[in-house]
Each structure stands twice: as C-alpha cells, then as structure tokens.
C-alpha cells in the first residue's frame, strides 16, 4: 500500500480523536454500567441475555451513527474548507485520498468498537460472575458489526463524493434501515410477480445485506456461528465495500473542486 494512503489514514484517525469522537465511549460506558446494575435487579435468569443484546445493539448503533455522520463529511468538509487543495497539489492521487480517508475512519471505528467490546465483557462479567463457553461467539458478532461499519463507511464516502452532507446523511441512514431488513426484502422479491419481482430483486441485491451481518440475537442465546457464514459474510462485506469505494473513486476522480 502507498505510504501516502497510510499518512492520510493516520491523519483522519487523529482528526477523529481530536474532534472528540471517542467521547461516545463515555456515554457507552454509562449505558453499560447502568444496564449491568439494573439488569441484575429486574431480570432473573436472563441477565446475560439482556446484557449481550443491549450491549451489542448499542455497539452497532453507536458505530453506525459515527460511520454515517463522519463518513458523509469526510470529503465534503475537505472541499468546503479547502484543506484538500494543499493535499491534492502534492504527489497524491485522488484514489489515495479516498482510500486513506476510508481506512482512517474504519480504523477509528475498530478502536472504538474494541473499547466498547471491553465494556460489554465487563458488564457480562459483572452480571454473570464469570464467562461461559458460548461467550466466545460474542467476538464473532462484534467482528460482523465491524464489517457493518466498514460497509456503511464506504457507502457514506460514496455519497459524500457527489452529494451534499444532508442528502448523504439521508441516503446513508435510509440504506442502513433498508439493509437491516435486506433478508425480508429478498423474501418479498421471491413472492412478488412480474415487474415488481424484478424491481424488488434488484433492490434487494443492491442494498447492503446488513441483516446477515447481524447475529446479535443468536449469540445472546449462545448459538454457535458456522465457519461458512464467517467466510461468506467477510467476502460479501469486502466485495460490497470494494465496489462502493470504486464508485467513490470514479466520481471523485472526475470532480471539479470549485
């Protein structure tokens, strides 16, 4: 990988840290502490289930909001503030800028998720007084959540490369909601007829299939995850991310920075 991509990624990470993005961890820590204390009092026998469900859902929502909100402003903010001028007048390719920005935000989300995961496990330890053998699958669920973030970051970056921040936010959150029900959409496409079947199928495969990346409920019930699912989800997320990034690069390569 080009060294310039690494430098741009490192600077994007530094920007997120200095702009206090990781402060969301405080809110998350408070949420998990409150959940751990309250769950012990109001739920008998299912404390572990509630903590895993609540914790992983919070990890997912916090991360998606960060991915979308920061992702949509990654390029537009640089154009608006004209910080991009002094970067692109150097020996930096436009694709390097896009990929560097993507990796920087994805790295921020990974670090963020790591600290939140520590919070989830600490809460689990508090309510369960120890770990159980099925708790290892939580790590896989967290890995899938990171894959969701990666896909959402790439999509936010794609929208940000041609659209205003407001429209990009609308597109990104809409796709997140639709993508979370992608399996249902595919089911509907299977039942539809004629043109609507064709349209629903196209839509179902166009939106990111985030529902297959959501295994929170099954790991809360300590159900194992197949190696095949891990492999196929990884491949799917990487391919979807790659295509979204290619789209962002193609648009950005032709864009006039007025």
């Amino acid at each position: 990988m080009s060294a310039r991509v690494v430098h741009i990624a490192a600077n994007t990470f530094r920007e997120a840290v200095r702009d206090r993005v990781l402060y969301n961890l405080i809110a998350f820590a408070l949420l998990m502490s409150a959940a751990a204390v309250l769950v012990g009092q109001i739920s008998i026998g299912i404390e572990r289930l509630v903590v895993v469900n609540l914790g992983l859902t919070a990890v997912s929502l916090f991360g998606v909001v960060i991915a979308a909100i920061i992702g949509i402003s990654l390029v537009s903010k640089e154009i608006e503030k004209r910080t991009l001028y002094t970067v692109l007048s150097r020996p930096v390719h436009r694709w390097e800028f896009i990929v560097g920005k993507f990796l920087g935000l994805a790295g921020t989300l990974v670090v963020n998720t790591f600290f939140m995961a520590v919070g989830v496990f600490a809460a689990l330890l508090y309510v369960g007084h120890g770990f159980q053998s099925g708790d290892g699958w939580i790590v896989v669920a967290l890995y899938f959540i990171i894959l969701q973030f990666v896909v959402m970051t790439a999509l936010a970056l794609l929208f940000s490369s041609f659209s205003s921040p407001l429209l990009s936010a609308v597109f990104a959150f809409s796709l997140f909601v639709i993508g979370s029900f992608a399996e249902d959409l595919r089911g509907f496409a299977g039942m539809a007829q004629g043109l609507s079947r064709w349209l629903a199928t196209a839509a179902a495969y166009l939106v990111p299939n985030l529902s297959s990346l959501n295994i929170i409920s099954s790991v809360a019930h300590q159900q194992p995850v197949s190696t095949q699912l891990i492999f196929s989800n990884t491949l799917y997320a990487l391919m979807y991310t790659g295509m979204a990034l290619c789209g962002a690069v193609l648009v950005f390569e032709r864009r006039n920075l007025k």
Binding site: R82, T83, R90
Partner: protein
C-alpha cells in the same frame, strides 16, 4: 525548457440548477513562464486568476487546452513533487499544531523520514513561527495561517512555487518578509508564479507580469516594457510665474508654485515646449520623464477592455 507552458487552457462551468448555462471562467490562455522568473499574474477580483491556478494544480479540469510544468503534464505525480502551492485564504487542519501540519505535508510530499523534522524546524523558523510550533492552528491569527501556508508551499524544496494572493492578510512587515522570501527563492533559481491584485507588489518584484481580465489575457511582458508601451509624458520646470500663451496648447497640466512653474506635456510635444520657453527667455530648471506606473497601465488596459466590451454588446 520553460518552467510553465500553458497551451490554450480554458475553463467553462455549467451554472444554474434546472437550466444549465455555460459560464466562461477562462478563455483559451497561452502563456510561458521561464525558469528562475518571478512571474506576476494580475487581474481584478473574478478575473480568472484562481481558476488558472486551480487548473494548473489539477483541482479543476480544463474544458480545452493543456499545460505543462517543468515539461510534464499537470497531473503527473512526479511533477507535483517539484511544485509548491499556497491557495488563496488558506485553511488548514485546525486540530493540528503547526509542527504536525508541516510534518504531514512533508510526508505527503515524499520527504525522507530522517530529514523531515529538520526541514520542518527550519521552515518554522524561516517564517517566524518557531515559538508557535506546538500551538494548534485553531488558535492562529490570519497572518500566522498565511505564514504556515507559505511554509507548507516551500517545505519540500520545490522548483516551481505557485502563490495565490500571498500578501493577503499580512501586515506591512509580513508583506515585506514575503517579498524578501520570493526574492530569495529567485536567487536559489526557483520559479515563482504568483497572483495578486496589489500592483505595487508586482511592480517591485516581478521579472514579467501577465494581466488577465474577465478570463482573457490582456498583456504579458516585463513591467518596463508594458508601461513604456503607453505614451509617456515629460515634466518641465522653469523659473518664473507666467505661462507663455503658446505653451498652453501643448500642456496637459500647468501650475505655478512660488517662483517656479511646473508643466506636464506629452512626450511628442516636448521639443516644441522647450523651444517655446527658450524663445520667451525663461530659464528651464529641469526636464524629467514621468514614468507610467504599472497601476496606471493596468487601469488603462481595463478601461480599454470595458469600452471594447461595451461596443461589442
């Protein structure tokens, strides 16, 4: 080899939301800048100076023509390692300190790791920001930001430097320092291409200037050549208080100060005016050519453009 060759570069934007209509920002521009020159790119606000610089930096794409810098196409990364650019009213990552910002730009410019810190320290000292090296840019004044901007443009020792309104936001001392810096860059053999609408800066600094107005090149050349192309005037001083009647027809301005009379005549009428004064027996004190300033040339050129535009419309 020319440092900058612009071959019919032009830019037309589409404006309007529903019904797009073309808006010409730069008409085909042909320009050559030689290596080692300080070249001034002059024009009023909205003339097309920044558009030209953005085209040369590859920030916007031309609708026609091409350009080469140091013999290479404008989007060649190898060439970009040899140029520096200061945008107009620069804005930088304000969460970084001056030291971090320059370090980041040095990384992007491919400055080798061992000499990066040394160059950054040297450059901060050169623009007078050594004491503010660890201060975040969000706490910088406009003048300090301009200094950081200049530092990032020359940090990697480029051969050609582009400055867009480099004096903007600087106090008289700061402007003087930038002028000295440009002269130093010239002494080092660098080419400096800068846009400005402050004509006194251009007049004192530039080997050659180009004047652009409404996206169209109006003139290129050395300041002396351009100003001498305007018909000159001569100032004549003589002892006395009276103006001979025959001189009145030749003079543009004429007035007495104490026991001296000052008259300004067109260069073509100089001999006739002197002959008249001698015939009247008046003692001539001095005959001095009145130099046309770049500003005067600029204003006249723009007026001619306005009149031409009025006629054609």
């Amino acid at each position: 080899m020319a440092a900058i060759e612009i071959l019919g570069l032009e830019k037309t934007y589409s404006v309007g939301f529903w019904r797009k209509r073309p808006k010409c920002a730069l008409r085909p521009l042909h320009l050559n800048v030689q290596q080692g020159e300080i070249f001034g790119f002059l024009g009023p606000n909205g003339a097309g100076k920044t558009t030209t610089l953005k085209l040369l930096m590859g920030l916007v794409f031309p609708t026609g023509g091409s350009a080469r810098i140091l013999g290479k196409e404008i989007n060649d990364p190898e060439m970009k390692a040899q140029i520096g650019f200061l945008p107009e009213q620069p804005y930088f990552y304000d969460y970084l300190t001056a030291n971090e910002l320059l370090e980041y730009y040095a990384q992007l410019s491919g400055v080798a790791a061992p000499e990066r810190q040394r160059k950054v320290r040297y450059m901060l000292g050169r623009v007078g920001l050594q004491d503010a090296a660890a201060v975040q840019l969000r706490k910088f004044s406009k003048g300090m930001l301009q200094r950081v901007g200049i530092a990032q443009a020359i940090l990697h020792d480029p051969k050609v430097v582009f400055f867009d309104e480099p004096m903007s936001g600087l106090d008289p001392m700061g402007r003087r320092e930038v002028r000295d810096l440009m002269e130093e860059l010239k002494r080092q053999g660098k080419t400096v291409f800068f846009s400005t609408h402050i004509l006194s800066d251009a007049e004192s600094l530039c080997d050659r200037v180009a004047i652009i107005h409404k996206g169209e090149l109006q003139g290129v050349g050395a300041v002396a050549d351009l100003t001498s192309s305007v018909e000159g005037k001569v100032e004549i001083l003589w002892h006395g208080s009276a103006v001979p009647p025959s001189l009145k027809g030749l003079t543009a301005e004429c007035h007495a100060i104490g026991d001296t009379v000052r008259a300004v005549v067109r260069e073509a009428n100089q001999d006739a005016a002197i002959d008249t004064l001698r015939r009247e027996g008046l003692r001539i004190i001095s005959v001095t050519p009145v130099r046309v300033s770049l500003e005067e040339y600029f204003v006249r050129k723009l007026k001619v453009c306005e009149i031409a535009a009025g006629i054609s419309s």
